[in-house]
Symmetry: C2
Subunit: 333 residues, 2 copies
């Protein structure tokens, strides 16, 4: 398998990619918001960030040309049921994104931890597959532009620390060398365990089961949000994955809301953590981040979800009094 | 355990330490020869090296003051049954080393993967323990100077990827943050496995067993070396661990010997890999490295060891003809 590398979870894949591609000051193009752990992995190597906003159809590809022209080292994208927003990149935008990557010669890191956890709609082709199809049509490209990451963490168990990278052999061989310096190899014991549960059919059955369970929990959370939150608050409708993204009216003190929530024994991840903080003085991202909450619907039983959303709504409403006259805002991510 | 961090093998400990301490161009003080994997881990971060030779009593501490005055970021030392040389740092030198570390404020990375695999002599105090004792005597030091690394890889199974770092809480908290970016956490599943086999007594029994097996294999290898090699070839007498270090007369072509050995279906690791290659034009280390072979005595059955050493000696002798009149050389590492 010269184009696959097994990693210690897909977090390690992000670290190795940072180590290989990023020199201090290099730019990385990211979705805003994006996965916190990717920011942690890349920032260690001195990455600077170009953030492009997403909406309900994922990364807004119509905004990409300008930042791509400024020459980032790579784009980092979560096309399926994004962490934190729960959004999915539409099929049209997938084609656009791959073509832009090829046009500017900027590789895509496609992070796909949740792709198998789809609860509605049809599976969409991954970027790495679209890129391969383009390669086959056009001999002008000798090497793929997409590096694909996935993991057993969401389908089997995060405690196994098993992920994988799919990339052209030239890239894999460099990553494998860096991996040797980083932790020699990924636990062979755990690879055997994963092989056995995949081979005997447990993994397939388990994925079917958790799809059903998580899908039900997502529906319960969506309904509870509808029931308990005022119309000035909006949220995404994830077609899969683990998370949804709540948007509050502007001008609230998210720290104070977080504190009120904790007093009610309910927690969320404040949106701020999911935005790259630019070093150039612009702080739009962190202002934008302060309007959002990431909620996880996969982890609690339906009754707990309902009660949790009720308490969270109570905590938010305490701080909404000054803003209740505002009109309902568009999702605007 | 605010002063312990579980790592994905002790290779990851080396990587995290490199990430935390080394900026491009920083110097690291090493033993010559030293563990190849440490060189790989540190070089990724742009380390330069100060190499200090070892002899049968380990790192030659009498040569340390000058390189310490030039301000390396840390010293990297394997006190017990060193990889590759199999040598052990004497008790007197351990005290000297810790005092020098304190005097110059240069931390020691104490790598101890083999400490439990002692086949003769008394256990010697680890550097981290000596450092703590000094701390207790002298209030002038507020933080320990030694970062201690070990692993289950040599006592239980390398495939579990379980190691640990012992360090002052301030250092552990920084390393833990870097570890989160590198692979989130070490497999909890494997930590449970190790906990169970330690708790039910298997680990202790297993270590006793492998001590007996490896000790016998070491003796077989030492005897075979004595039997088959000419007096111009010398080797270390490891009191534990997995490796011994063979020194050939000067002026041989190690590449040609390696090729002859492979033709006999026997292999070794050429010594060259275990020396830092300095960037300042000096090449003493790699000339020195070309006289050495690392042999592993833990992995083969006694009969295979005997036959292997016989073949290796035959391969070496083919290239010794021009040098047989030389006097036996001192060990001189």
């Amino acid at each position: 398998m010269e184009n696959v590398l097994i990693t210690s979870g897909s977090q390690q894949a992000l670290d190795l990619i940072g180590k290989l591609f990023i020199n201090a000051g290099d730019r990385v193009l990211l979705e805003a918001p994006t996965y916190l752990g990717a920011l942690q992995a890349f920032s260690v190597y001195g990455a600077e960030y170009l953030s492009v906003p997403i909406d309900e159809n994922g990364l807004r590809t119509e905004l990409l040309e300008e930042p791509l022209r400024s020459g980032p080292k790579f784009m980092y994208v979560l096309p399926n049921f994004q962490n934190p927003a729960g959004t999915t990149l539409s099929e049209g935008r997938r084609h656009e994104l791959v073509l832009l990557s090829e046009k500017y010669g900027i590789p895509i890191i496609e992070d796909d931890p949740y792709g198998q956890l789809r609860y509605e709609g049809e599976h969409l082709p991954s970027l790495v597959v679209l890129d391969r199809e383009n390669l086959r049509r056009d001999d002008g490209y000798s090497i793929g532009n997409v590096i694909y990451l996935s993991t057993f963490s969401k389908t089997l168990a995060p405690g196994l620390r098993l992920g994988w990278i799919v990339a052209p052999p030239e890239i894999i061989s460099k990553l494998a060398q860096l991996k040797q310096g980083a932790d020699l190899h990924t636990s062979t014991f755990n690879q055997f365990v994963a092989y056995e549960v995949a081979r005997d059919g447990f993994l397939d059955k388990h994925v079917k089961l958790i799809r059903q369970v998580y899908s039900e929990r997502r529906d319960v959370m969506l309904q509870a949000l509808q029931e308990f939150f005022p119309p000035s608050v909006t949220w995404t409708h994830p077609k899969g994955g683990l998370f949804l993204w709540v948007t509050l009216p502007e001008g609230l003190d998210m720290q104070a809301i977080f504190k009120s929530a904790l007093e009610q024994n309910v927690a969320f991840v404040p949106g701020n953590s999911f935005y790259a903080h630019s070093n150039d003085g612009h702080d739009n991202d962190s202002r934008e981040g302060s309007r959002h909450m990431r909620l996880n619907f996969s982890n609690a039983a339906p009754e707990q979800i309902q009660e949790g959303v009720r308490r969270l709504a109570a905590a938010v409403k305490k701080h909404l009094t000054g803003t209740t006259v505002r009109l309902k805002l568009p999702l605007g991510m």
